[in-house]
């Protein structure tokens, strides 16, 4: 039973990270219908910024709490700025282009950003500073769930709740939903669609940056290539849940994280990803628009 619980929590941790990244995918997809392949790179850049800022601060002897807060903020600010800028450069000029053109542009952007960080920083793996020391009272259950796992879970839940509130009740949130549903009409009621799209990229990128920082702090290392696999997995999770749907992205992420964890635990980690992708195929066969996606039945 212990084993089951252990696997369950490791699946939850994975799932929450996927969720933080998948939300960005799903929001961007919802609003401009683009699979933003550069999103994984945003996650990487967020983690890198957190790494750089945290290391600089610790070298200059700042206390740990302030390091966590400042580096977290820096990660969010810079990742959002990258998200914003990328949209302006690589996607905005393609708003009326054929559907696949922005996809290729996104792939190009992803290659560009990876190599940009590789060149400006290093190709080596770097140790991420310990941001979250193990808590005393967690010690008895540390073999089941660690302090960072708890922090990841709590952060994810808080962020999700905040995001839901923002989307549901604030003006910009409503504007996002309206733009996602009908862009022309959103323009006609006086929503500045360009600003809404920018805001979506900013929020999505900020979430990815939080995810990046948490993962890096959890596994203690970072390099320029971490975004690729994370991006693919989060994208899978987003589709699993029904792309464009925010609760769907969260659900899909947890389903994916748990599947992988149990597949590794009870079957074999050799085929961990095979399980993940097979599950995806299976679910899509029976629910072609994902778990919570709206069936896009076109009216005939």
């Amino acid at each position: 039973m212990d084993y089951f619980i252990e696997l369950f929590f490791s699946g939850l941790t994975r799932g929450s990270i996927y969720a933080l990244i998948a939300l960005g995918y799903t929001m961007v997809y919802g609003i401009i219908g683009l699979i933003n392949f550069a999103h994984g790179e945003i996650y990487m850049i967020g983690a890198f910024t957190a790494f750089i800022v945290a290391t600089v601060l610790s070298v200059y002897g700042f206390p740990l709490v302030s390091i966590v807060i400042i580096s977290g903020l820096a990660a969010v600010v810079w990742a959002s700025s990258y998200g914003y800028t990328i949209e302006k450069i690589a996607y905005k000029p393609l708003r009326h282009a054929p559907r696949l053109s922005p996809l290729i542009s996104a792939i190009g952007m992803s290659i560009f950003l990876q190599n940009y960080v590789l060149l400006a920083q290093t190709s080596d793996f770097l140790p991420f500073p310990t941001l979250f020391p193990d808590l005393e009272f967690m010690e008895p259950i540390a073999h089941i769930i660690g302090t960072t796992d708890v922090i990841i879970l709590v952060t994810t839940i808080v962020v999700m709740v905040l995001l839901t509130l923002i989307i549901k009740f604030t003006k910009i949130g409503k504007a996002m939903r309206a733009t996602a549903q009908d862009r022309t009409m959103a323009t006609l009621v006086g929503i500045n669609v360009n600003n809404v799209i920018s805001a979506t990229f900013i929020v999505g990128s900020g979430l990815a940056a939080i995810g990046g920082m948490l993962v890096a702090a959890h596994i203690g290392q970072i390099n320029f290539y971490i975004g690729f696999l994370a991006g693919i997995k989060a994208f899978t999770a987003a589709v699993l849940g029904g792309i464009g749907s925010i609760p769907g992205a969260v659900l899909g992420s947890f389903v994916l994280g748990l599947t992988e964890s149990f597949a590794t635990g009870y079957v074999s980690s050799d085929y961990e990803d095979v399980f993940a992708f097979s599950l995806l195929v299976l679910i899509l066969i029976f629910k072609p628009s994902g778990l919570l996606g709206r069936a896009s039945n076109e009216k005939v």
């Binding site: 793996f125 596994i219 203690g220 290392q221 696999l229 980690s269 961990e272």
Partner: protein, 376 residues
């Protein structure tokens, strides 16, 4: 109008052809062309770039002294991204550009794809990192040398150490599914089954680059293994030991040459303490090794990365052979390499008939106080 159009087209075509041919017009000169091939971009760049640096350090030093036999050494650096199909292009490019010797490739797969091309051109190739048994033991590649021990030597070393030295019988073998780690792990498993020492309680591959290895660590715990034998590189190893420490696992961790890298200790930090790794014979008393590291630090302002020592050694050995034989012909070089010992950061080495370095036996290391020290 039509004529004009055709004229333009022809000119365009001609220009395009000229542009295409430009790189091909390598000028034969009075330098020794030293090719360096490996992944210099993409996900595996961290294994390829250190060998470029190693070659730069050695060659700049040699050139500062006036070169070899009066000839300067010129580097030709080509990226293969560790992909077989790109590696064949890289190899043909190096051959076309007149490379006389090649340091590389880094990944076994890319090396296997590139070798037939070098073999055909009779060019000496020396890899600091390709460990596939086939490369030397199959006899298919007479022009291949390496400064790293083959898998066939390494897997038994790890198992022998775990079972005989540490006295641990229940072995979990984990690998990274890569062309380095998996054959190593499979070799280890076969060795256990053949010799009957110990028992393999778990044999699994992990996905490199995955975000979290908690599940596999739980599984190791569940399997009741006393020792984890890991085949793969240091990024995954450091992730696993970090999680193992977080989950309070006391299982020992024995790994390979890909982990015996200072980056591993840096990245894994405290979790690295007590990890065992096989590595080239102890070179801590080797002045060459210390010097090589100091040179890197002076030139690039940072510590060298993976396979630096091996690449440094290979460069030294190749240049030495060229100097002694006064030629870059494969047969001449081979003779020197097989007969003369040369002092390098990985020890005083020469090469056997297959192309494997003699004198790069294994030592087992353990991390103590943030340093790899030899297990006596």
């Amino acid at each position: 109008m039509k004529v004009n159009l055709r004229g333009k087209l022809l000119t365009t075509a001609a220009c395009a052809l000229l542009a295409l041919s430009a790189p091909a017009l390598g000028v034969a000169g009075d330098t020794i062309k030293f090719g360096v091939a490996g992944p210099h971009s993409g996900d595996l760049a961290s294994y390829g770039l250190p060998s470029v640096n190693a070659a730069k350090v050695v060659i700049d030093k040699v050139n500062a002294k006036g070169g070899i036999n009066g000839k300067k050494v010129e580097m030709l650096i080509e990226d293969d991204v560790c992909k077989p199909e790109i590696a064949t292009n890289t190899a043909t490019k190096l051959v076309s550009d007149g490379a006389e010797v090649v340091l590389g490739h880094i990944c076994s797969g890319a090396t296997k794809a590139a070798m037939p091309i070098y073999k055909n051109a009779k060019i000496l190739v020396m890899s600091p990192s390709a460990t596939s048994d086939e490369l030397t033991l199959s006899g298919d590649y007479p022009n291949f040398f390496r400064t790293i021990a083959p898998n066939a030597a390494q897997s038994p070393a790890m198992i022998d150490f775990a079972v005989d030295k540490l006295g641990l019988k229940k072995i979990a073998i984990i690998h990274d599914k890569g062309d380095y780690g998996k054959p190593l792990a499979e070799g280890a498993k076969k060795y256990v089954e053949k010799t009957g020492k110990g028992q393999v309680v778990l044999f699994e591959g992990i996905t490199p680059g995955a975000m979290d290895y908690s599940a596999i660590v739980q599984k190791i715990k569940q399997s009741g293994a006393d020792v984890v034998v890991f085949g793969g590189y240091h990024p995954e190893a450091s992730k696993i030991v970090t999680i193992m420490k977080k989950k309070r696992l006391k299982t020992k961790f024995v790994s390979d040459d890909g982990v015996k890298d200072d980056t591993f200790i840096k990245v894994a930090g405290d979790a690295a303490e007590g990890v065992y790794a096989a590595g080239p014979q102890d070179n801590s008393n080797n002045p060459q090794a210390a010097e090589a590291r100091a040179e890197h630090k002076a030139k690039f302002g940072s510590d060298p990365g993976a396979f630096y020592d091996g690449a440094y050694a290979a460069t030294v050995a190749i240049l030495n052979a060229i100097e002694k034989s006064g030629s870059t012909k494969l047969a001449d070089l081979k003779k020197v390499l097989e007969t003369e010992k040369v002092a390098t950061p990985v020890g005083n080495i020469s090469f056997d008939k297959n192309g494997d370095a003699v004198g790069v036996g294994f030592s087992m290391y353990v991390v103590e106080n943030g340093k790899y020290v030899v297990v006596k």
